[in-house]
């Protein structure tokens, strides 16, 4: 059901853990729904120098957290903000349709951590362009 890439990021998750004294933290999801992601960012000169996560959730949730933290590392905040759930899912070589929300969660976690940083620094919060713009569409490469 999962692509090899998903399984790789599930079995060898990158960036698991917490960052001590993080510059931004975002926690999204809900244990009632079965997934929670907590994203920790280290930010220097507007650049994400480190990203870590802790996740309670299914294989796709863990792999999405792993991939999302990979994707934002080294990016400016503006660039990182543009990392969409679709980009996460594509980098994972697809997610089953019922698991697309995991990539959405990862995008939201990153956004929340960035805004946490901006808030702490008295910067204006960025707003989600369109809360419904996330790509939940079926991924033709997978099935459920």
């Amino acid at each position: 059901m999962y692509s090899e890439k998903v399984m790789d990021h599930f079995k060898n998750p990158r960036n698991v853990g917490e960052i001590e004294n993080p510059d931004g933290v975002g926690e999204v999801g809900n244990p009632v729904c079965g997934d929670i992601m907590k994203i920790f960012l280290k930010i220097e000169n507007n650049i994400i120098t480190d990203a870590k996560f802790k996740t309670f959730g299914c294989g796709a949730a863990i792999a999405s957290s792993s991939m999302a933290t990979e994707l934002v590392r080294g990016k400016t905040l503006e660039e990182a903000w543009e990392v969409s759930n679709k980009a996460v899912a594509e980098a994972l070589e697809g997610l089953p349709p019922i698991k697309m929300h995991c990539s959405v969660l990862a995008e939201e976690g990153i956004h929340k951590a960035i805004n946490d940083y901006r808030k702490k620094h008295g910067l204006e919060l960025w707003v989600e362009k369109n809360p419904h713009a996330h790509d939940h569409s079926e991924d033709p490469t997978s099935d459920h």
Partner: protein
Amino acid sequence: MGEKRTIYMDHSATTYTRKEVLEAMIPYFTEHFGNPSSIYGIARDSKKAIDMARVQTAKALGADPDEIYFTSGGSESDNWAIKGVALANRKRGNHLITTQIEHHAVLHTCQFLEKEGFEVTYLPVDQYGLVDPLVLEKAITEKTILISIMYANNEIGTIEPIVELGAIARKHKVYFHTDAVQVIGCIPIDVKAQNIDLLSLSAHKFYGPKGTGALYVKKGVRIDNLIHGGGQERRRRAGTENIAGIVGLGKAIEMATADIPGHNAKIRSMRDRLIKGMLEKIPNARLNGHPEKRLPGNVNVSFEFIEGESMLLWLDDEGICASTGSACTSGSLEPSHVLLATGLPVEISHGSLRLTLGDANMEGDVDFVLEVLPKVVTKLREMSPLYQKSGKEGGCNVQ
């Protein structure tokens, strides 16, 4: 995942077809393939084979052969029993009673009937998943035409007090159906002594082929057909008979019920060791279902702070086949309706694991699972934001 041994601990999802069963089936594909409704020689062979499977099935249930109808599986049997009785008895009433922990084949059928104007009471269960006979009795009204309660639950393995529940149904002259899909070969059935009017079973749960089941319908029960058409199964279930499948069901039920105590003793001792070991080795774990009134092969444990699917994936990586809720819903995001009905909090029910033992298992399998599982749980807990290393009080840190 290469050459590793596979440890199959998902017997409640499905079983392999036993060698002897497959061997009994083979000739009916190519040689004795005649349509049993025809009158020539090769068709008479098919007919005889079906008659024999009917006798084998009836014997295993304490029924008469002409009370056994073959179907395409447990789901069809459940659908047929419930819709068939509901539609045929509409004039007497429109109320059905079932429980909150039934298989979806029962629950979704009841929901369908609700759309058609029937009323359904879904009985609650206690923390162990048990239905209270007094609660059943209170739920019966003048309009009740059917009570459907599973013999044992597929997720948590709890065995219901069927004899008592059936006696209440009988006392109130209400038809009593039981979904016995999980219990064939584990609990001796005697439909007459156990007050059962209709009983569903499915061959692939007791080492028979998938796609074949049966419905026992006590003589005299008013029931409509579900699948209309030709005159097969004494005009009650249309469709050219799946002869090989039926032969397989007959052989499988005969073998599965030949020595139930012996079979159970072996499976139960593995199960008990597995439960004990899991609870000892893994903190913040709890057993779901009843400690004694449970299927001999069923283990269902919840682990706090982690989610079930990620456990399954790691176990699969070690060659261990397990499941979370019932197999049919393991692709789903919703937590098990059964665990919720026992009062388990949603967040904890997400972290439950079902291991169901059966004939494919040996004692060594238990050791292996007890070696692997604690590591998997630890690994996942370590990456869980809910898990505080300090201990239990981590709890659920809802936003």
